[in-house]
Symmetry: C2
Amino acid sequence: MTSKETSLDFIYREQQELAVYGGIGALLGWDQMTYMPPAGAKDRANQVALISRLSHEKIISEEFYNRAYDLCNSSTFNTLEDRDQIVVKKLFSDLEKARKIPSWFVEKSAKVTTLAYAAWEEARKKKDFTVFAPNLEEIITLEQQYCDFIHLPGHPYNSLLDDYEEGMTTDILTKEFTVLRKELQNLIHEILGSNTYQPHLPQKQTLSKHQQNTLTHIMLKQLDLPKKQFRVDVSTHPFTTALGDEDVRITTNFDRPNPLFSLFSTIHEAGHALYELGLPKDKFKDTVISDAASFGMHESQSRFWENMIGRNSCFWHYFFPRCATRFPRYFNNVDQHEWYRIINQVQPSLIRVEADELTYCLHVILRYELELGLIENTIQVKELPQLWNEKMQEFLGVTPTNDVEGVLQDMHWSGGSFGYFPTYAIGTIYAAQLYHQLLHDHPETIDQLHTGNLDSIKQWLHTHIHQYGRQYTAEELIHKTCGTGLRSSVFLRYLKDKYYEIYSLK
Amino acid sequence: MTSKETSLDFIYREQQELAVYGGIGALLGWDQMTYMPPAGAKDRANQVALISRLSHEKIISEEFYNRAYDLCNSSTFNTLEDRDQIVVKKLFSDLEKARKIPSWFVEKSAKVTTLAYAAWEEARKKKDFTVFAPNLEEIITLEQQYCDFIHLPGHPYNSLLDDYEEGMTTDILTKEFTVLRKELQNLIHEILGSNTYQPHLPQKQTLSKHQQNTLTHIMLKQLDLPKKQFRVDVSTHPFTTALGDEDVRITTNFDRPNPLFSLFSTIHEAGHALYELGLPKDKFKDTVISDAASFGMHESQSRFWENMIGRNSCFWHYFFPRCATRFPRYFNNVDQHEWYRIINQVQPSLIRVEADELTYCLHVILRYELELGLIENTIQVKELPQLWNEKMQEFLGVTPTNDVEGVLQDMHWSGGSFGYFPTYAIGTIYAAQLYHQLLHDHPETIDQLHTGNLDSIKQWLHTHIHQYGRQYTAEELIHKTCGTGLRSSVFLRYLKDKYYEIYSLK
C-alpha cells in the first residue's frame, strides 16, 4: 500500500484484482468447453485450482476484511458518495459471508464434487442411479453443513438459495410455486384436451450446420450485439461467459436433433450477454455491484429474449419473410401461422432443457420440492429415482424409462449446486413480469416488433435492469420496475393470453 | 510447507506452480492472437500483467532461492540422482540470473516496451521511422543497462544472447556469420547469374481458404500429430504455444498473397509443436529442464521440417501425386519437377519472413550486425534506416522504398528482444547439421521419404533432441548429436548440394 492510499482506494484495488482473477478463470473455463484438446484436461485442472485458490485467499484476507469493516463502521462511511456506500456495504457483507466457511470445508467440497461429477458421468453411462447415490449422500451432508455455517434466518434452504438469489426465501418461493404448479397443471390439461391441440406438428426439415450457423448470425445481427466486444463459438452445452466487461462470449450447438435448437439457444444466450455487457462501468466496473442482481435475474434476461421476443408472433411477422428469403426450402415448407405454432409447440416431455415454455417450470418445481426434502431429511437419496418418476407422472403425465431420462439428467447436484434450480423458474416469472411492464409502459413495442426494431426494448432493459448490476437485489429491482416482487400470476396471465390464442380457447 | 517436505520436494512443487502460471499465460496469449474480441484487450492486459507479476514474485522469492542454494551447496547434492542434480543446478542458475534484475527495472521495461510497441505500429502506419526512433533509443539504453546487470564475460551482447541461446557468444557467432555471409552472397550471385535461373516462375493459381485449410490438414495428417494433444487455429502471424505438456497449439494464416504460405507455415509450426510434445515428462514435466534447449534449437526443429522435409524432392515424390488427386486443377497445372523448383524459388527480397531458404540468413545477419553496433554505441538509432538500406543493397542487391519494407518490418526491437534475431540463423544452421547427421546415421531416410514415412525421422529427433529438453545447452546437444558445435559450413554444403542440383550447376 502506498502512503496516500485510502481504505476506499484499497478495497477498489482489491476488487479489481479479484475481477482479473475472475476474467482469467472465465477464459480457462471457456477454452475448456470450446477448443481445449482433450488431453489438456489434467493441466487445466491445476490451472483452474491455482486461480481459485489465489482468488479465495484474497477474499478471506485479514486486511481486506478489516478495511471493509472500518469503512462500514467509521464516520468515514457517511462522507462517501451514495454508490460507494452501496459498494462498501455489499462488499463487507460478501466478505463476512465468505469468512463463515472454513478453508477445510472449501477444499473438502472441491474434492467431493470432483469425485461426484465423475460418479454422475459413470452412473449416466450405466443408466444406474445407485452408482451416483453414495456421492450424492456425501454432497447433501456437505450442503447441510453449509447451511449451518451460513445460518440465515428461517428455513435452512434459505442459506443455499442466497448464493444464487440474494435475499430470496422458501416462504416466498413455496407460496409462488404452489400456485404456479397447480395452475400450470390445469392449463396444460386444458390445452392437451382441446380439440385444437395437435401433438404432432408436421415433421421439421433439417438444416445443415452451415445453415443453422447462418440463421443464428442473421438473428444476432438483428439483436445487434457489439461485434468488438462479443463472439459466438460452439460447445456441447450452450453458455455465456464474461472474460472482461468488453469481452463477452456465448456458445451454441449445431448437433441437436431439433434444427432450431441453435437458433433459440443463441437468442437465449444473447439475452445473458446483453445483461453482462450492460453492467456498471467506469468506476464501478470490477466491483461487487458490476455483477448480475441474481441468477434468476440473469435467467430473466435470457428467457425474455428467447420466449417473449424470440417466440413472439409480432417479431416473426417481421422476421419470417427474411428467413424465408434466405432459406426458401426450409421456411416455405410452412406458412407463418403454422411456423408460430411450431416454435411454440406444447408437449410434456422428460428432459428439462428441451421443455417448452409452458411445461418448463414444472420441471423446476419438481427439483425444488426434492431439494427441500433432501435438505430437511424428509427425503432419502435412495428414494429419489422413484419419487422423481412419480412426480413426473403427476406433474406432466410422463414417466422416464431410465434414470438418465429422470433423476440423472442434470449435472447440478453433482457439483453441489443446491438452490440453483429455482432460479430458472424465478427468471421465467421475472421475464413475464418485465414483458408485462414493458408493454404497459410502451404499448408501441408491439409495432416496433412488427418492424424488427429491438433497440427500444434493449434500452428499456438496460435502463431498468442492466445498469444497476447488483446495486439492488433481484426482488428490489423487480419491485422498483414492476411494482411487485416475484409474482407468478403475471406469468400465468401471459401464458394464458398467448396459448389460448394459439389454441383458439375461450 | 509440510513437516515431511524436503527441499527437493519444495523446489519441484514451486517449479510445478511456475509451470501452471506459464500455462495460464500461454492461454491468455493464444486467445489474444486467435479469438479475443478486439475490445477485450484492456482487460487482457491486466490479466497478463497479474500472471506475470505473480510468476515473477515466485521466481525471486527468498525461500525458493535459499532452498535451491542449500541443495546446490550442501552434502545433500551428491546424494541426489543425476537428473535431479541437473535440475537443481539449472534452477539455481536461473534464479540467480533473475535476481540480478531489480524489480523497478522489470516494471520500467514493461512500460517502455508497451509504449514502444504502440509507437512502432504508429510509425508503420506513417511509414516513418522517426516516429519510433525516440522509443528505440530508450529501449537500447535499457538493453545496455540489462547487460550491465547480467554482466556475462566477453562482449556485453553475450548477456542478451544468453536469454535466448544459453552459453552462446559473439565470438562464435561473429566467426560463423562472417563466413556464412560471404559464402551466401557468392552462392546467390552464382545462382542469379546462371542461365538456368528463372526470376519469374509461372504464375501460381490461387487456392481458396477452404482449399488451403484442407491442404494443411492433409500435411498434418502425414506428420501424424497426436489429435488429443494438439490443435490448429488461425492468427495474423503463425505461432506455436504450449498450454500444458499435452496441450500444444499452432496457428496458421490463409490470407497471404502466396497461397502456399499456410502450407509451409503449418509444417514449420508443426516442427515446433513436435519439440514441445517431446519434452521431458513425468517427474521432469514442469521443471526447468522440460523446456527447449534454446530458441535456436527450437527454430532448428521448425526449419528442419519446413525446409529439409517440406521442401525436399524425395518427400514430394510421394506427396505431390496425393495433392494432385485432391486438387487436380491446382497441381496438374505444373509437373512435379517444376513444382519442386517453385517451392524452392530463390529470389532476393525485402521482407525476412517471406525470404527463401537461400537468402533468409542474410536478413538475420544484417540485424545481428546492427544490434551489435547499437549495443556498442558504434551505431546511432537515427542512422538505422540508411544503414539498413545500404546493407540490404550490399547483401541482397535490393533496396527498400520505405521504412516499412526496411527497418520497421519486425516487431522484435519494439519489445526489447535484442539477441533474439541470431537464433533464426542458428536454428537454420543446426537444422542442416541435424539433417546431415540423420542422413549419415540413416541413409535409408531417403527411401522413407519416397514412401511418405516420417516416423523414423520423428523418432530420431526425439531421441537426439526433444527428450533432453534443457538438460544440455543447444551447443552441447548439437555437439553430442553431430560431433561439432554450430558449423555454418555444413549448412552451406547442404545449400550447394541442393541448389546446384536445382539449377544444374557444377
